[in-house]
């Protein structure tokens, strides 16, 4: 079976300008969302605080849980629907609240009063102190920054400096666009999301490497051709692989997304978005940047 017969001759770079505009608009949307929401929505890993993950034996809703837990004298409790069945909820407080020490116990007690002791099951408690939260946040940011630079550096070393720059720009683009989607969808940033972002970076660079590898090969084969032709041809030649690989990986991620359970949901969502963006960026961000660089140096 073949999905893409022989070698296609699509003029990908013809649409580069439109793609720039599209990416710029997305990132602008991200900045607006960032400003509108007042920053990233940190989970307890980064913000500190406590969450109690409760599963009820019957469906209920956030408002009635809020009414029950507000019987405790702890203020600033948020209740959030978790999962798709309307029976799992996250009850959260920021760390600075008084009474945080026995938060999970007190929640348990007030829920037992309101719903009966057998009607629910505390599935998970996560509590992170402000110092640990800061530390994790710093490490998370460092990891993403380091990963971006190391991979850009590796490609610059293995190929040519301009390829490294192209890949670096593509990676930053992927992180920004994926973050935009997370901001718009109001997904919480926690350790799992950072791990997923790093995986996205790994995959995206993988895609970029494969296109760059073709460009490098074709540069040796087609010495007479312009860079534009070479890049276009390379993207076309690797198109079949890009479609197949992205397709199969997306299949696996879709399985994770729909069947992996509530805990892994955010992870799968980030991968789903990031993989798509990563494939797009290796065609429409990395390659045009290489071309731009070429033009700039030619002009000098």
């Amino acid at each position: 079976m073949e999905l893409i017969k022989a070698v296609t001759t699509i003029d990908f770079l013809h649409y580069a300008k439109g793609a720039y505009l599209f990416s710029a608009l997305l990132i602008l949307l991200g900045i607006t969302a960032f400003w509108y929401r007042g920053g990233l929505n940190y989970g307890v890993d980064f913000a500190g605080g406590t969450i109690v993950h409760v599963k009820f034996s019957q469906q209920t809703d956030a408002a009635s849980i809020r009414a029950v837990v507000s019987q405790t004298d702890i203020s600033d409790i948020t209740v959030q629907d978790f999962g798709q069945n309307g029976d799992e909820f996250l009850i959260r407080i920021p760390k600075s609240e008084t009474g945080a020490e026995n938060f999970s116990n007190r929640i348990r007690e007030s829920l037992a009063d309101g719903y009966g002791p057998e009607a629910f099951d505390v599935r998970r408690v996560e509590s992170v102190g402000p110092k640990v939260g800061r530390d994790l946040r710093r490490k998370g940011i460092l990891a993403v920054v380091f990963a971006t630079f190391m991979m850009g550096g590796y490609i610059a070393f293995r190929f040519e400096p301009r390829f490294g720059v192209g890949a670096g720009v593509a990676l930053i683009h992927d992180v920004l666009v994926t973050t935009t989607v997370l901001l718009v969808a109001d997904v919480e940033f926690d350790l799992t999301v950072v791990a997923a972002l790093l995986t996205v970076i790994g995959y995206s660079v993988n895609d970029t490497v494969i296109v760059c590898d073709r460009v490098r090969e074709n540069m040796r084969k087609l010495r007479r051709e312009t860079m534009r032709t070479i890049i276009n041809r390379s993207i076309n030649e690797t198109l079949s692989r890009t479609v197949i690989t992205t397709g199969t990986v997306l299949m696996v991620i879709l399985a994770l997304f729909f069947l992996g359970g509530s805990v892994i949901h955010a992870f799968a969502l980030v991968l789903l978005v990031g993989m798509t963006v990563g494939t797009y960026s290796s065609i429409y961000v990395a390659s045009p940047v290489i071309l731009l660089w070429e033009r700039e140096t030619a002009r000098q």
Partner: protein, 521 residues
Amino acid sequence: MPQGLRYRLLLIVGLALWGILYLIPSFSSALPGWWPSFLPSHHIRLGLDLRGGTYLLLTVDLEKAVENSLDQYAEEFRRALSEAEAGIVDIRREGNTLRFSAISESDRTIVREILADRFPILEPRIGSGSSSDIVVDLDSRQIEALHQYAVDQSLETIRNRIDQFGVAEPIIQRQGDRDILVQLPGIQDPERAKELIGRTAVLEFKLVAEEGSTRETETLNGQDRDPLSGEPIRTTYTLERQTLLSGDGVADARVRPSVDIEGPYVELILNNRGAETFEEITGANVGRRLAIVLDNTVYSAPVIRDRIGGGHASITGGFDIKEARDLAIVLRAGALPAPVTIAEERTVGPSLGRDSIEQGTMSFIIGGVLVVVFMVVYYNLAGLLADLALALNILLLLAALAMFDATLTLPGIAGIVLTVGMAVDANVLINERMREEVRLGKGARAAVDSGYERALPAIFDSNITTFLSGLILFQFGSGPIKGFAVTLCIGIISTVFTTVFCTRAVYDYFLVRRRLHTLSV
């Protein structure tokens, strides 16, 4: 045969057998009796997120540890002074220094002798200017040593308590300068465990102050309960500040069944020194009340009726049996040198762990089946070969995890899923290249040769970059994320091996031995 094909095939079969051998212990609940001891018995452990359990990061209050030991020095000093029959000296702790003031001229030499004799690590300074105070302080090296001691001692004490509490396969280790990491797999009552671990458990015996006494006093809360309703009642006690006997004097602690409505109580068995001191105290203070203080709360304050020999004492306080048992554990295991606070806690209940395993496995199988079927449909026999390589890949990856005694977490399962993705990508790259070569009209042998040769740089570069991101994750990640990084890195090594080395060996075998002429790709 080209390039030692026989050895390559042997290596592959050998590694596959090795993988199976290493996985047997993980997938059989109990090893059969005839399983020889030289065969591997390592098995993959499930992380707390999969089997349920509690992860705690405790921070030791080091400042308080230094203060506590200075307080202890001051206490010992007072005792030494009264033994030397010196006059009253006011000893006060100010931050990390001890100040001796109101010293009469005649006592000066005594104070300095005691200092030089019994506290050689303390640096005495004569107070500045007109003050005749003696000030002793700790230099940074001593403070550092005290910090070390506090963390080591806390670690030891917590380990003792957990051992006595009874948790299978706990992990208790030091992290950084002042943190202690505790993992308790499969624990049913995390709140109780937290209380047990976090309790400072400083036990002190002090006399209840008499009216008109000139000694230094302090006021502490009691923990009495209403005998009928069991509700706590607020009471306070005024005690003499001096500690007569502390937890150091305790050799053992046992739960004793209830004798009256008070409920069960904890019996203390004192060691020789403790018993001696206890006999002295009770003998000298017949008729007075002796308070038993735990973590600055008065548990009981019975009247001393007679000199008590034999080294037995008891703590009552209307406990239920669990409370009494936990109290006995902390008293046996000893006090923490300083309070600890919980900086991070992650508890996963067993039901969530079970769901995660089921859903993780389910999504893995469905995703895997989709990929396997697709590969065969799309690449025919070459796809089937890729699928076999994929199966070997997962086998080797799991075997390596078992060999390293690695812990499989939910993000770890995600790492395996991504390994599948990378492996598929490598085979797609090779197969696409071979198709290109076949389209150019090359024969089977030439197509395989140049297909692999051309695909290799891209495969290596992409796997190395992913490996780099795995290393970064390992470096910066904590707990579960590290698990993801480990599976990703091992997975990349097994992916390159199976997708490049193994499939190539199989192609070579068919090309040479079976004289294959057309590729099914």
